[in-house]
Each structure stands twice: as structure tokens, then as C-alpha cells.
């Protein structure tokens, strides 16, 4: 391409060499996003953050980190902690990239958990419980999607209403009681280890992998980016934006259904108040992971790292015997810091473009 570039001057502001080099470098970094490369760079930053958190752990509790067995066990604890929210976050990431937001995820997890542990459902065995949890999640997600796309409700409002309604329904079904799961298969999901690693972590990895493929390698993912990045352009390119919006919320609901099974297994029970404030954790993790709240940009790997960073912080406070209140303050600070960093990146980019423009005219 350099041949043609030098042979014929572009009539309008050409892009300078430095930026070409930058774009090429970014393209080389792009193996885990598939394309673009910007996401990959951000993810490296998240990895660095994670490393810093671990170093803090090592410095504050050198006694514990001296024991390799403890380190391995603690790593699994962190991943297990991240697994349920992680699954929810994958669905949330799709919704946010698609230009929406889902505030009802915690409530859907609760409703799906309660529904799958009623005596009637449990009589169908573990298969029936899993099936009902996934179906309930999917159905609620579809309702969300219909409200947003065909009902033209603002996503914030539609899913806020669903949050209230779903928790209400969960309380109604469970009669505000804790419903104990008697299925040893379900309860075993939380305790089973394969090759020394908890099954929950495998489920997280499977969902993340599926989400990554879906976002980066399928037409569904491509449509998601288009619909969130510029809905009008997507529509005028012949993409059915409304149908796709429904599918996005349905996907989020399905992830909540999976999370409901995992959470029920962990607690060996379900109740209407479970998965409280999961929506905030999932949104925060996605945002920290570099997903643009206005849609059109985001990565699954970034979201996963966001979730792991959060659970590492929780773990850090636990091993230092610090209070959960202080923990939340730090989490809040991290969210603000992450967004500020993104803004700085964005500003420097626009400044760069402005300079580029100034020099070429």
C-alpha cells in the first residue's frame, strides 16, 4: 500500500506516518480481540492492575504467600468468587456493547433461583431445576428486550421496573422463605472439583469462551457492535435492530439463569434476596474492563479481568481481616479511577486527531 500512497497524494488530510505505525502496532497486539487492537492494550493495563493487587497481597501477608499450597488454594478461591458474577457480566457486556443496560440481572438470578427450587420444580429432579432456571432467565430477558425494542422504553427504566417486579415475584413464589435445594447433583456443582479445580470455574471459563467466540467470531457479535455503535447505520445497512436488541437481553437473561444454578448450588438454597446488587458488580466490572457505556465498544476478556480484579480486592481485604465497608469504598474508588483513565485515553486521542488536522490544513 505504501507504493500507491507515495505515487499519488491524497487530496484530503492524509493520515501521517506515525499514526500508520501506531495502527500497525495496535493490529499486531490484537490476537485476543480478533481485530482492532485497542482492546488488547487496555487489557494489558488491567493485567498490570491485577499484578499490583497481588503484589499488595504479598507485601501485606508475606506469611501466607510463603506457602505455595495456600497460594494455589487462594487463587481458586478468587476464581470461585468471580465465577457467578463473571457469568452475569458476560451477558451484561453484550447488552452494554449493544447500546443498552440491564439493571435487572440480580433480580433475574433470584427469580430463576427461587423458581428452580420450589418443591414442584424440584420434583422433576436436577434436570428440571436447571431447565427451569435457564428458561425463566431467558423468558425474563426476552420480556426486557421486548419492552426496550418494541415498547420503546429507555433500557434503564424497563430493566429497573423488571428489577422491582422480578424480586417481587421471587418473594411471592418463595413466600419470603429460604428454599433449600435437596438435589445432590445441583449442590454438587459447587463442591465438585475436576483436576483439582472447582466445577464453577470451568463453567465460568466455558461461558467466557462462548461469549468471546460469539462477540468476535460470529455475525451475532458483529451485529451487536453495529447496533450499539451506530443503530441508525445498522438499520440502514439492513440489520434488524429491534430483533437483535431482544436477543441481547435474552442472552443476558440466559446468563442470569446459569448464574442462578451456580449460586443455588453454592448456597444449597435460594431465596428472593439472593444475588443482591449483582447488577452493580456486573456493570462496574464491564466498565472497568473497557466497555463503553454508550455502546459499540467492549471486550469479553476485559470484563472477565474486571470481575477478577473485584474478587481479588475482596480477597485482599478478607486475608487482611479488614471490613467489607472499607472494601466497598476501595471498589468505588477503582471504578472512578478506571473511568478517569479511559477519559484521559480518549482525550489524548482526540487531541492527537486535532493536532493531526491542524498540521495538514
Amino acid at each position: 500500500m505504501s507504493d500507491t500512497d507515495t505515487a499519488l497524494p491524497a487530496q484530503s488530510p492524509p493520515v501521517d506516518r506515525a499514526e500508520t505505525a501506531k495502527a500497525d502496532a495496535a493490529a499486531r497486539l490484537s490476537w485476543w480481540r480478533g481485530d482492532g487492537g485497542e482492546g488488547a492494550k487496555r487489557n494489558l493495563g488491567l493485567l498490570a492492575t491485577l499484578v499490583v493487587l497481588v503484589v499488595i497481597g504479598v507485601l501485606t501477608r508475606p506469611d501466607l504467600y510463603g506457602d505455595p499450597n495456600w497460594v494455589w488454594g487462594n487463587t481458586l478461591t478468587i476464581l470461585k468468587l468471580a465465577s457467578v458474577v463473571g457469568v452475569v457480566t458476560v451477558g451484561m457486556t453484550f447488552v452494554i456493547i449493544g447500546g443498552g443496560i440491564d439493571l435487572s440481572v440480580g433480580a433475574i438470578v433470584a427469580l430463576a433461583g427461587v423458581w428452580s427450587t420450589t418443591l414442584a420444580t424440584q420434583s422433576y429432579g436436577a434436570g428440571g431445576m436447571i431447565f427451569s432456571a435457564l428458561t425463566v432467565g431467558l423468558a425474563v430477558g426476552v420480556v426486557n428486550g421486548l419492552l426496550v425494542s418494541y415498547g420503546r422504553l429507555v433500557p434503564f427504566i424497563a430493566t429497573l421496573a423488571m428489577l422491582v417486579a422480578a424480586r417481587g415475584l421471587a418473594a411471592e413464589i418463595s413466600d419470603k422463605q429460604t428454599q433449600v435445594s435437596t438435589s445432590s447433583f445441583i449442590n454438587g456443582i459447587a463442591t465438585t472439583k475436576v483436576l483439582g479445580i472447582p466445577l464453577l470455574v470451568y463453567i465460568l471459563v466455558a461461558v467466557v469462551a462462548a461469549g468471546w467466540v460469539l462477540l468476535n467470531r460470529t455475525t451475532f457479535g458483529r451485529r451487536t457492535v453495529a447496533v450499539g455503535g451506530n443503530p441508525e447505520a445498522a438499520r440502514l445497512a439492513g440489520i434488524n435492530v429491534r430483533r437483535h436488541t431482544v436477543l441481547l437481553y435474552a442472552l443476558s437473561g440466559l446468563c442470569c439463569g446459569i448464574a442462578a444454578v451456580m449460586l443455588t448450588a453454592q448456597a444449597t438454597s435460594a431465596q428472593a434476596a439472593m444475588a443482591n446488587l449483582y447488577e452493580l458488580d456486573a456493570i462496574a466490572a464491564a466498565i472497568i474492563g473497557g466497555t463503553l457505556l454508550s455502546g459499540g465498544r467492549g471486550t469479553i476478556v476485559g470484563s472477565l479481568l474486571g470481575v477478577i480484579i473485584f474478587s481479588t480486592i475482596t480477597n485482599l481485604f478478607a486475608i487482611n481481616n479488614l471490613s467489607a465497608e472499607a472494601q466497598n469504598m476501595v471498589k468505588g474508588g477503582i471504578i472512578v479511577a478506571a473511568v478517569l483513565v479511559q477519559q484521559v485515553q480518549f482525550r489524548s486521542l482526540t487531541q492527537f486527531l486535532a493536532r493531526n488536522r491542524a498540521t495538514t490544513t
Binding site: 500507491t4 491524497a10 487530496q11 493520515v15 495502527a23 455475525t219 457479535g221 447505520a233 440502514l236 488536522r357
Partner: protein
């Protein structure tokens, strides 16, 4: 088109000649490229092509000297004088030497086609843009307004076409927005309402209650509030950007009455309108802009013949070169048939047809319903009446998906907001409508997509060619190529183009014209909308003229000339220019 070519060739010996040779040589340097068989052809064609640098094309100044009217048309003192004002944006020289003189108490009309620089000029005066060079003298002193507030304080108020009022504030709150009378930080609501009432009375509208929410006012009422805001600033100059566009016919008379009262108080008004009869009625003097420069300054508004004004508006300063039409009428069977298409308030009873291999152009101003028509044909808007048929098969109304599957493509008017994913790579933008076709079982084939996009990029001479780069980094012309290129993939048989060359520089324009003509040669039907009349006339085989939502004329492009179309496009009272 022969006529135009001759004209530009007749300009040999101009500085333009030099750069043309240079360009030809440069292009020849590319001939060895194996993947570009069209290159040689293009080089030959570029004989008639204007230089790639816009500033070298300013050939008209000697031929058409600036007209200056006798200065005593209006008696008031000069309040505003602009000398050689220049403002450039990336790739565009929006203002290229504007002269303007406005006197106290006059209505100074600004005339010019779309893209002539009127909007930029207004924004310079309103403090939104700062000029790159040139002098702005406001009430005897050189002025450089740092921001819109500064211009307001200096006494220049602007009433934009889309009124910048806050719908959910009251009339008084809007009038005094940003400079509310206050004491100790509290707004003095009583005083504000009283002063608003005074101003409204001065505007002849004491019946508008200051406490009424602006949302509940009709368009004319909102305009009054905008003017009230201007007067609340003690404005000495009020700029009105097409104020009559939002008004019904009888409300225009009222607007004129108010303007006369304002000017009687010594306030100067800059009045922008496309409607010639309004300029005749309300204007004192006229300044005409063309391609960012003043082509006629301060002509008497009532006596200057329309012919002169139109000539000043359209007088060619840039020659576009359009590809030659095929000698034989290669158009095939009818592809698109539109019958009685209607959307209330936008356009009514439009019927038209496009044959395979034919370029049909729609000329019309903004607001004539042309873009809405195009979007309705494409299914992006739902028609209230009428049918759209492609190959004789009726399309499902209001479904873009159905239109695309049937073989339609559209390059919408607003590139950035309607067509592009700016942060995404070029190839993903090119394949936005077709990535599903390259996918297997829902899995995208990025390698194939990139190859296809590469092919399109090569055939459109996209610069830079690397399709992995974000579209954001491309120039306007190249972004437009991406939008058009999207429909070169797949089997698009009818292409709808809405203002395909807006914000595109001269060189890229010529290339786009060639692309469109090549498409037609391959049998694609093209329906083109443009507010630039020469573009429609030069490119299209057949032309439809739209005004106020209706097709007022349909003819082969050869039978129309620019002035005729302009007359048709503007007020109907200008029929003197119609062909015998």
C-alpha cells in the same frame, strides 16, 4: 457534457494547467500496478479534470469581477464590515474571502446555494467559529468574538433555523436564558416577566404570556421568543437563518412586519433565505456568496434582476468534470417503480421510475422532501400511501431488510451519524450490509471480508488502502467511498444516493462521479439526490425537480439547464427562466 469540457479546456494557460500536467504524470507513475486495469483510462480522462488543490481552481475572479453597488442604497451608518474573511476546515475552504457590509436599520439579505458558506459566515459572526484571516469590524472597532456569549454581549444575536430554545422553560426564562435579572443569586422573576412583556409588546405580540412553556407555542411563537431573546440582549444586529422556513404563509407577513419595526428602531438585520420573492419584499441590499467568497456585494435588493443574482450564485468557479454519458441509451428494463408515494407533511403523490443502468437525479432544496422520499423508498420510513416496486414486485413497506434483500442499497445523507461505525475498521464498515453472506453457520469469515473490502478499496482508489484502519481516520471523501463501496458488494441493483458529495473535496468528487457512472454502466440503477444542481445535471440521465414535497418537473438532463432548475427549485414566481 461536451460544453462543460470545452469550457474548462478553454482555460488553458491558467495556473491550473501546470498542476494538471503534474497530476497526469503522477498518475502515470502508477500504471505498472497489476491490479488496476482502469488506471490508464483514468489518466486520459483526467485531462479535463480540475486540479486536486481547490485553491488552484479559483479561475473565475478575472472573468467575473466583484460587483459593487452604489453605496447610498441605505442611509444608516455602517455597523458591520467584513473584509477578506477566510475560514478553513479540514479539506474544505468554507470561507474564502468574504466581504460584507451591513448598515444600521437595513435588512441585508445573504444569498447563496447550499455549501456556499452562509452557515459558516453566520457562525463566524455569532462567535462560534473564529476566522483564520481577514478583518471583522463591528461598530467601528476590530472584533474577535471568543465565544457566542461574547458576540451576544457585543450586540449580535443569531436566530438559527432550528431554534435553540429550551422547550421546558417558560417564555420569559428562555428570553433571559443565561442573563436573568437577579439579586443575591435569586432570579427576579417579577422583573423578568415584566421586561419580557415589554419586549413582546415591542414585537407586536403582547398576547404571548411570559409564563407559558415554550413547548406549548407554535413555530411562529417560538420564533418570536427567539427574537425576544435577541432584544433582551439589546442586540444591534440580528441574524436570521431562513426564518421563513418554519412558518406558514400568513405568518411570514407578520414576521416581515416585525422586521420592519426592528429596522425602524435602527437595528440591522441579516436575512438569509432561498426564496427570492421574500428578498424582494423585505430586503434592502443583497450580498451573494458562492463557494465561500462574495461574488456580489450590497446590490439593491429590489432592482437587481433575478437573472443577475442567480448568475452570481451559480457562476462557475469550480468546474466539476463528469464522466461522459454512454453514447447509446444503454438503459434497460424498468427496475424501480414508485407510484403515488406519500408521507404527510414531507412529500405527496410522488411517482417515478428508474431503469437498469440509468441515473436519475432529484434536484431540490433541503426541506423539499427529497431525502425523506429516498428513505421511504428504502423502507427506512413508512409510506402513508403509495407503493414501491422493484422488478415489479412490491416491497414490504417500512422494512429496510426487505429492501436490502431485494437488491437496494442506500448511502444516506449524514455519513457519520447514519452510515458509519467510526471506531470500527474500514473493512467492517464496507461489509456492514453483507458480512452475513460471507459467514458460515453464523461464524464470520474476516479473511474473506477483508479480501472483499480490499477489492472494493482498490476499485474505489481508497486512500489509505489499509482496510484494518478505523474509518474515523479517513477524510470525508474517502469515508463516502466506504459508504458507497458497501453496496458494491453483494448484488445491489438499485443504489439510492443522498448527497453523495457533501463535504467531499473536488478531486474525490470526480472519482465518485466516475464510480457512480461505472456502476450504471454495469446495469445498476441509481437514484441520486443532491442540492447541487450542476451535479444532478451533469451526472444524471434524467432529472426530477422537487419543491415542497412534490415533483414539479421531469425531463432528460440534456433538456434542462442550471438556471431553469434553480428557478424551479426556488420560488415558483421565477418562471421567467423556464425554457421556451
Amino acid at each position: 457534457m461536451t460544453e462543460r469540457t470545452e469550457r474548462s479546456e478553454g482555460r488553458e494557460g491558467m495556473p491550473i494547467r501546470h498542476s494538471m500536467t503534474e497530476r497526469t504524470e503522477r498518475s502515470e507513475g502508477r500504471e505498472g500496478m497489476p491490479d488496476q486495469p482502469r488506471m490508464t483510462e483514468r489518466t486520459e480522462r483526467s485531462e479535463g479534470m480540475p486540479s486536486m488543490q481547490p485553491e488552484e481552481v479559483e479561475v473565475s475572479t478575472e472573468e467575473e469581477p466583484l460587483v459593487e453597488a452604489p453605496a447610498d442604497a441605505v442611509a444608516g451608518e455602517v455597523v458591520l464590515r467584513l473584509t477578506d474573511v477566510v475560514k478553513t476546515f479540514p479539506g474544505v475552504r468554507a470561507l474564502d474571502g468574504v466581504q460584507l457590509e451591513v448598515r444600521a436599520g437595513e435588512v441585508h439579505c445573504l444569498l447563496g446555494q447550499n455549501g456556499a458558506g452562509k452557515s459558516t459566515l453566520i457562525k463566524v459572526l455569532a462567535g462560534v467559529h473564529r476566522p483564520d484571516s481577514g478583518e471583522v469590524v463591528w461598530r467601528g472597532e476590530p472584533a474577535a468574538f471568543a465565544d457566542p456569549q461574547a458576540a451576544m454581549r457585543a450586540g449580535i444575536a443569531t436566530i438559527y433555523q432550528e431554534l435553540d430554545l429550551v422547550d421546558d422553560l417558560s417564555v420569559a426564562e428562555n428570553a433571559f436564558l443565561g442573563h436573568e435579572p437577579r439579586r443575591l443569586g435569586f432570579v427576579r422573576r417579577g422583573q423578568m416577566a415584566r421586561r419580557t412583556r415589554q419586549i413582546l409588546a415591542r414585537l407586536g405580540h403582547p398576547e404571548i404570556p411570559p409564563g407559558r412553556l415554550v413547548r406549548h407555542l407554535p413555530a411562529a411563537g417560538k420564533q418570536i421568543v427567539s427574537m425576544a431573546r435577541a432584544l433582551s440582549h439589546e442586540a444591534r444586529l440580528i441574524i436570521m437563518d431562513e426564518p421563513s422556513a418554519v412558518l406558514a404563509h400568513d405568518e411570514v407577513g407578520n414576521l416581515f412586519r416585525i422586521i420592519r419595526e426592528l429596522t425602524a428602531q435602527g437595528i440591522a438585520v441579516i436575512y438569509i433565505s432561498h426564496r427570492m420573492e421574500e428578498i424582494r419584499e423585505i430586503g434592502d441590499r443583497v450580498t451573494v456568496l458562492k463557494d465561500g467568497r462574495t461574488t456580489a456585494a450590497s446590490l439593491p435588493a429590489r432592482d437587481t434582476p433575478t437573472r443577475d443574482l442567480v448568475a452570481r450564485m451559480t457562476g462557475r468557479t469550480i468546474e466539476y468534470v463528469f464522466p461522459r454519458r454512454p453514447a447509446d441509451d444503454g438503459a434497460g428494463a424498468e427496475l424501480l417503480r414508485v407510484d403515488g408515494l406519500t408521507r404527510h407533511g414531507e412529500f405527496a403523490d410522488v411517482s417515478l421510475g428508474v431503469r437498469a443502468g440509468e441515473i436519475v437525479g432529484i434536484a431540490g432544496l433541503v426541506g423539499s422532501g427529497r431525502s425523506e422520499l429516498l428513505e421511504t423508498i428504502f423502507g427506512a420510513r413508512r409510506a402513508h400511501a403509495g407503493t414501491v416496486r422493484l422488478d415489479g414486485k412490491a416491497l414490504r413497506p417500512g422494512s429496510v431488510g426487505a429492501a436490502v434483500r431485494a437488491g437496494m442499497g442506500m448511502a444516506p445523507e449524514e455519513r457519520k451519524s447514519q452510515a458509519l461505525l467510526l471506531g470500527e475498521p474500514i473493512y467492517r464498515n464496507v461489509t456492514l450490509a453483507t458480512f452475513g453472506r460471507y459467514a458460515r453457520l453464523g461464524f464470520t469469515d474476516t479473511g474473506r471480508e477483508r479480501a472483499e473490502a480490499d477489492r472494493v478499496a482498490a476499485s474505489l482508489e481508497l486512500r489509505p488502502r489499509d482496510v484494518r484502519r478505523p474509518v474515523r481516520t479517513l477524510s470525508g471523501g474517502n469515508q463516502q467511498k466506504v459508504v458507497v463501496g458497501r453496496w458494491l458488494l453483494g448484488d445491489t441493483r438499485l443504489l439510492l444516493l443522498d448527497e453523495p458529495t457533501r463535504g467531499v473535496d473536488v478531486g474525490a468528487r470526480a472519482e465518485l462521479y466516475q464510480v457512480i457512472r461505472d456502476l450504471a454502466a454495469r446495469g445498476v440503477g441509481v437514484l441520486l439526490v443532491s442540492s447541487e444542481v450542476p451535479e444532478v445535471l451533469g451526472l444524471a440521465d434524467r432529472v426530477l425537480v422537487m419543491r415542497e414535497g412534490r415533483v414539479v418537473r421531469e425531463a432528460p438532463a440534456g433538456e434542462l439547464d442550471e438556471n431553469t432548475v434553480l428557478d424551479l427549485v426556488m420560488a415558483g414566481s421565477l418562471m421567467e427562466g423556464a425554457p421556451a
